[in-house]
Amino acid sequence: MSKISRRKMITTGVATAAGISALGVAAHLATKYGLVPPDHGGLYGPGETLTYASLRLLTQHSMAREFSRSQISARPLQNEVAPFSEEFKRFQAGKFIDWRLTVDGMVERPSTFSVDQLKSYPSHSQITEVVCEEGWSYIAEWNGIPLSYILNLVGAHPQAKYVFYFSIEPDWWESMDMADALHPQTFLTYGMNGDELPVGNGGPLRMRLPRQLGYKSVKFLNRLILTDDVKRFGKGLGSISPEQGYAWYAGI
């Protein structure tokens, strides 16, 4: 009897030790290969980490679904935003001619771009779906330039791990990893369905990441910062979303 329970004890002990070291190895590898999201702490950290790590591995090079022209929603939804700041209204009154996108941080040539300047670069388009975390969705054609084009232009440092991006409106900023930043469908968007991007849909400039939920597609974009250190921004959780209870990674 005592022999069996001792054997059982040893087996259990070995299994537990193996389990703990396996977890340790997994954590080490996950950190090494950038599979741990900035908001991995907290009650739902394990779930966020599993989701981000598995979808990051699975979707490194995959494309978001694109749709045919006939599937474009007749009326692209303009969901509510907080009342505009005085600053935004001034830009709006000037037809956004003075709107600037500043790009700095870990780059060779910190730069600012007007919307017209961005429009002078080779234009791309994608017909993708905006998917809100609430459940609704619509399809539109988005016109703009891949973010990677601008990152090349400013000479992004290879050490940069994240692109932080900011709305001109307060408390509205996000970040993405380099897999998303260099992804061909990640757009700086200035047009919609062949027209100017309406203010109601994020004009004059909106980030588009069709492989993540709508809240990562920040509207009224005016600043990008490349960094390898998420701790510099807010509470260090990668974006304002985790500070408001939402996940940093929104691929699901």
Binding site: L43, Y44, P46, G47, E48, L50, T51, L55, L58, T59, S62, M63, A64, R65, F67, Q71, S73, R75, L77, N79, E80, E129, V131, C132, E133, E134, G135, W136, S137, Y138, I139, P210, R211, Q212, L213, Q244, G245, Y246, A247, G251, I252
Partner: protein, 259 residues
């Protein structure tokens, strides 16, 4: 993995070995695998239903096809107030936004449920639990036999030999839940992920689009909740305390006690 000693107990009342063992008062009912996965899945299922319901509150409208929003015609609406101004509900107020923690809880519980579900299915195959306890015998699948079990249930009679094994109706229901409803709810959940459906577009296109996936996800969840109600009602009828104790300790009194 401990095997289920209930296999030694006759499944069919007319099997050659049908006299109940006279000297045994209790018997092994559920293996450790079944008990642990049962309760962990129960907990994560409650968390999923709670958080899923909460997420619906932010947009209690359902659609069919690829797209859907407040500018398009819904398939149906749930007549509750919403947690977003965007949704016209007819109520004069907007509930507080609870989507953040709801989504965190939903996906974390989904990971637990998927892990436990895999453990249950793989362990159930290896230990023979699925073959012995859930696959119905050929004889039990005849209409006469099934109708007999259903009539029995409708008359609210105590089933015979219920503690020793599952009848054909139970077996078919559990198989439906394990191999149809849960896979379907996981599939339709993943189909709503814009990252996942880029890698496997068929997972959402086969369903008719993202909004169809969301609507099916809702209905399968409702079916699972209905199963839960029936399951608990049946457990109640057969003796709630003894059945729950069996699922916790693994031991149960034999039929002899009740005879």
């Amino acid at each position: 993995m401990s095997t289920l000693p209930s296999a030694q107990v006759p499944i069919e009342p007319d099997a050659e070995n049908s006299s109940p063992p006279s000297q045994v008062v209790t018997m092994d009912r559920h293996s450790v695998l079944v008990r642990v996965t049962h309760w962990v899945i129960t907990l994560s299922f409650f968390a999923l239903v709670l958080s899923g319901g909460e997420i619906i509150v932010s947009h209690p409208r359902f659609y069919w096809g690829e797209t859907g929003n407040v500018l398009t015609k819904p398939l149906f609406k749930i007549p509750i107030p919403a947690s977003r101004n965007l949704v016209p509900t007819g109520y004069g107020y907007v509930l507080p936004d609870q989507n953040g923690w709801s989504r965190g809880l939903h996906f974390q519980s989904a990971w637990v449920l998927v892990g436990m579900g895999l453990l249950y299915v793989v362990g159930g195959i290896l230990s023979g639990h699925l073959r012995r306890n859930l696959l119905p015998g050929k004889r039990d699948l005849s209409w006469r036999s099934l109708v007999g079990v259903i009539t029995h249930h409708l008359r609210i009679q105590e089933t015979q030999g219920g503690l020793e094994s599952y009848n054909a109706l139970q077996r078919l229901t559990y198989l439906l839940v394990v191999f149809i409803l849960f896979p379907l709810v996981i599939w339709t959940g993943l189909a709503m992920s814009p990252a996942f459906d880029g890698v496997f577009p068929a997972t959402v296109n086969w369903l008719g689009g993202r909004q169809s996936a969301r609507t099916i996800h809702f209905f399968v969840s409702v079916a699972l909740v209905l199963f839960l109600f029936v399951h608990v009602a049946m457990v109640w009828r057969e003796g709630f305390v003894s059945r729950v104790r069996a699922m916790i300790t693994g031991r149960a009194a034999t039929g002899k006690e009740r005879a």
